[in-house]
């Protein structure tokens, strides 16, 4: 399976509040709250690091979770964010990090 690259959409704004990540879409003004694991993936989504590496380095290192299960969950998570227009997902590295840093 080819690596997947993920990047925060440039029209989003985000900030850590407590243990969660608050994300706002400038497109439709919707607000999302990501939990701790979601926040880790969001922060690491720089467009050039494969999702599998993000999961291995940032998720599996910090949480007691099976790597393949974690990757599967992460794939579903980024797909959902992409559906809401908040994240860019590609089989190729994305040119920039795709969006502002949280």
């Amino acid at each position: 399976m080819s690596p997947r690259y993920v990047a925060r959409h440039p029209m989003t704004a985000s900030r850590q509040l407590g243990g969660e990540m608050i994300v706002m879409s400038a497109g439709d003004s919707r607000l999302f709250t990501l939990n701790g694991v979601g926040a880790v993936i969001w922060t690491a989504a720089d467009g050039v690091t494969p999702l599998s590496e993000i999961v291995a380095a940032a998720v599996c290192a910090g949480y007691d979770v099976d790597a393949s299960v974690a990757l599967q969950d992460a794939e579903a998570f980024v797909a959902e964010l992409a559906e809401h227009g908040m994240m860019l997902v590609s089989d190729e590295p994305l040119a920039s990090d795709g969006g502002p840093r949280p």
Binding site: M11, A13, G18, P100
Partner: protein
Amino acid sequence: MSEMMAGLAARAAALGVPLTAHVDLTYRCNERCEHCYLDHEDHGELTFAEVSALLTQLAEAGTLFLTLSGGEATLRRDFFDIVALARSLGFSVRVKTNAVLIRQAEAERLRSLGVHEVQVSVYSHQADVHDAVTKVPGSFRRTVNGIAMMTAAGVKVVVANVLMRRNLDDYRGVRALAARLGAACTLDPTVTPHMDGDRSLLQLGVSTEALRDVFHDPDLMDPVDSSCLAPPVDGDEDLGNALPCSAGHSSCYVSPYGEVFPCVQFPLAAGNVRTQSFGAIWRDSPAFHEVRSVRVRDLPTCSTCAHMGSCSRCPGLAYMEGSMRGPSELDCAKSFARTGIPSAGMLERAGRETARDVPAGVAFIPIAQVKSGRRPAPAAAV
């Protein structure tokens, strides 16, 4: 404010995070609005480097929602550089402008930078009335063109209609104009004293009687009955512990000269980012500590008021009127206009003053006799 935003603000206040910040980049302006409370002279605005340091510190402190305003913020030559920097730091950016300087290139830049919302002041759908408020002939045409450019570019625009005596009859027209331009519209009857303390500007505000008619306009309040019902009899058990406002708890204001305040309408100086870091001011300033020490139960008059659960009381206006713990005459008038029931502040003033000073229609109604109902909306946002 949506339920989710209210929840975020409450969480931010509990964590001591300034989730929302309003930064005025300049007090200079290309209009001279008759109700404006600012001194338009430049007394030494923050440089780009200073703004950059401020925004970095706000991001580190946890601010997400950033309003960039003025004066007229677009008068700064580095305005778009500041917006770009703010976006790169992860802020959700709202810009307040009169849109006079917005053309297609500027509109497209705002869109490409991912500005969340642009709020534009429009006083009337009639050019002569709008221009009489701004004191700049042709400003209406340029503002409307600016709005059209932005909505065409895909920028979310909100028309802000300040309601005054001069434009009282025009709010429906402004609303229709905003709809035609593809913009949302808000109505605000608040006129504040000049920053030098001069209260003569308040004469421009609408009368309580006129405000009552606006609050009962079925086109604005939906549903009108729930907005204008009498306040509830039984006090909310947690109300006494509630914060009077988010100012100083999860929001703050920074002037073009680096002064930090709880809110743009709350001129209690907390420090200056030219001499201290924003974080130190936010965390340690005695002014912020005092603001944060106040709970609803500490408001000697307002905590006894039947409107407390629904009032839009602004502690900044109360501060300008004499005490951050006191009632705000302007907000008392709003509650009265909305419900027809006098506030505790009005009754207190009536007790102090002669009978002829009591507003028409005011009579003492014991709280126990006030009919219970759903809580009214706190503001006349449309």
